[in-house]
Symmetry: C2
Subunit: 414 residues, 2 copies
């Protein structure tokens, strides 16, 4: 089954909104063997919606549309679809009843716009949306399916998970796509590629390899296609294991595993508690660690010591050290981490101090100079990261490096 | 001038990567009067690249392509473009010299793949890329421009800012698009819409209104089009001011201003320092505040008190309070904030404690129950937020609410 995703909204075309929906949708569709041919973002206009439908209905079996179902005047998707499929809009009492119930529960009253939202194309099947006011709409045209959903991410996700994906799974049992993704940290795309060139050359035509770099990390993805899922799976797994072994010093996980998830699992398994002392990252490392549900099992807390006063008063960094070596120095991060061990009941920790930029750089310590201390109370190690000139990137880089250093410390690689 | 953005990469179609590039590009292009007609993501295949070029060259004056220029085998964009434009690839010595210099500076050696990257389409104009190895390529076909850039965000941004945008600005002086974006927090899309319905109805046809909701916030965007930029600007500004006034209690800023930026400016202007004591947000509030360059002028630091031990030992929350009222209670957040004032030299602060989920909820305190304390040492106020069932959303919601509460406190609205 081939699909196209259409996201509708002027906000996407003027760059005020980043489209995160279609990545989520693609991922879920791929898992059940639906192949995404194209994603396209178009404006809230009848002409754009109609011409795009004309074009993609030629090539795709499934068209997924998000956006333009809200209660405001710039939301025209429903009307455009009704026109396109030559059907009229009829008032749908159950939707109106549900909206009224929702609003009375929230202690709020409905507006005229909410009532307008209850007019639905006559021949569309409605897909329930427990997360918002507008239900999804499913049109059948021949063997093709056209689905329209709200653009609000959690509403779209609810409709996909609740009704659409189960329905599609029934239809896509025949052909298979298998992915195997290897997640690496600390080595660049070219260098990883050079190290596995011979393996890449041996891959059969139905297995593809791709490198997906992000800050400090590269995902290496094998994609196999074929008729028999189990056979493809076995083949992809076989090549994946060879690459895993070759690149073992850089591999931290697989598929959707994140560095913070892997670190969390390590902490939990080793019954180790963790905390951070952060200057330039401003809490970003703690935030990553606590993004994992259940992280309270191993994460105690952090001190974000942005000013020198906090470094001295809370983390007990000596004034002398700050004066002699500066806030961004090996000596300071060691004292920050030692201080953290004194005030938090943790087994391992991370301390960082650096110049995130854009200001604050000097000739000796340019923007991007970042010191990291990590380890346990009696075994503190340090790392000097020379990052970039960009503030947001430096914070991200430092977070990735810090999480990886403590991960490697826990498994005895550092 | 009309443009289409083509992003190339299987990783976009299987959902492993969220396309943040095209939003940034659209925003920059819009600012200089280039209208984005469509954004489309396609696979790393000759057929997809060629058929999409065929189609969009019909309607757009400018085609911007990102992705597929890396050193690995799945990167085929350059070859596909050379084929499409019937030109051959020739070795470009200056690029090779530059790559070698870069790598020797980094203390690394080049690979064979890097040399391959130096073959360039004969008739393309090269756009320098100081941030990476692959330069941008600009093809002219009649009055149409086709530009290919790497998919790595900071490389694309460099090429756009350094050479492409200045070039396009020369060409787009004739027609104008003007945006006026009002940023609100604390009220939903429908309710805001109802409050300005009469204004919306008076808008002339060449000025459009759109509502762009995100968690806890809604952006209201006016877009005017016309020949004379100054005239349009004045008109849009006039309607914008009327809406600003009507919704003043929800408006915190305009255009690209963020809540954390506005808060930072307030702190700086009022010469007030700030800090946070965070439980369920795990450092997310501090991270937002410190995402702003120069935030060290007003931000001292934070205590992320995830465990009760840290609440007691570092923030001096009494054991009795934790036992009697629980970690998620008005009493606890007040003591957290009082404790923070004792250890950090700050004027105002925020303390939060809540149940982010998915676990930890009870009948009395379901997931999404979040207490916020905010204010100054002698004037601590509290707010109970009933958020959602989703962990990531709850953390985001709490961050938005907390930043807004302290913002309103500073301007005397709370």
């Amino acid at each position: 089954m081939n699909a196209t995703i259409i996201t509708i909204g002027d906000e996407l075309l003027i760059g005020q909104v980043i489209d995160t929906n279609s990545a989520w949708m693609s991922d879920k569709l791929n898992e059940i063997g639906v192949d995404i041919q194209e994603k396209v973002s178009i404006s809230d206009s009848f002409e754009a919606i109609h011409s795009t439908l004309d074009r993609v209905l030629e090539k795709s079996d499934l068209i997924l549309i998000t956006g333009g179902l809200g209660p405001t005047k710039d939301d025209i998707t429903k009307k455009a679809l009704a026109d396109y499929f030559m059907t009229d809009l009829v008032f749908h009492q159950p939707t109106w009843d549900r909206i009224q119930r929702l609003f009375s529960k929230w202690g709020r009253s409905t507006t005229k716009a909410h009532k307008q939202q209850c007019f639905m194309p006559r021949d569309a099947e409605l897909l329930r949306n427990k997360m918002g006011t507008a239900p999804g709409m499913l049109f059948y045209r021949g063997h093709k399916m056209i689905v329209s959903m709200p653009g609000v991410p959690y509403e779209m996700k609810f409709i996909m998970s609740d009704s659409l994906l189960p329905l599609l799974m029934e239809k896509t049992k025949e052909s298979a796509i298998v992915h195997y993704t290897i997640r690496t940290v600390g080595e660049g795309e070219s260098r990883l590629s050079a190290q596995i060139e011979d393996i890449e050359e041996q891959l059969p035509a139905h297995i593809k390899l791709a490198f997906l770099p992000s800050l400090g990390q590269v995902r290496i993805r094998l994609t196999g296609r074929g008729k028999i899922k189990e056979k493809i799976k076995q083949e992809v797994l076989q090549y994946g294991s060879i690459i895993d072994e070759r690149l073992s010093q850089f591999v931290f996980g697989h598929h959707h595993e994140t560095l913070e998830e892997v670190l969390g699992t390590l902490c939990r398994n080793q019954k180790v508690t963790i905390g951070t002392a952060e200057s330039c990252t401003g809490g970003a490392i703690a935030q990553k660690i606590t993004s994992i549900p259940g992280s309270s099992d191993y994460f105690h807390g952090s001190v974000v010591a942005y000013s020198n006063q906090v470094k001295e008063q809370v983390l007990q960094v000596s004034e002398k050290t700050l004066l002699q070596y500066g806030a961004v120095s090996e000596e300071t991060v060691i004292e920050m981490l030692s201080g953290l061990f004194k005030i938090l009941p943790i087994d391992v920790g991370i301390a960082v101090s650096g110049i995130a930029g854009p200001g604050g750089g000097t000739k000796d310590k340019p923007v991007g100079t970042i010191w990291i201390a990590y380890g346990s109370k009696n075994n503190i190690r340090t790392y000097l990261l020379q990052a970039t000139k960009d503030r947001a990137k430096n914070i991200q880089y430092t977070t990735v490096y810090a999480l990886n250093l403590i991960r490697k410390f826990l498994i005895g690689l550092e």
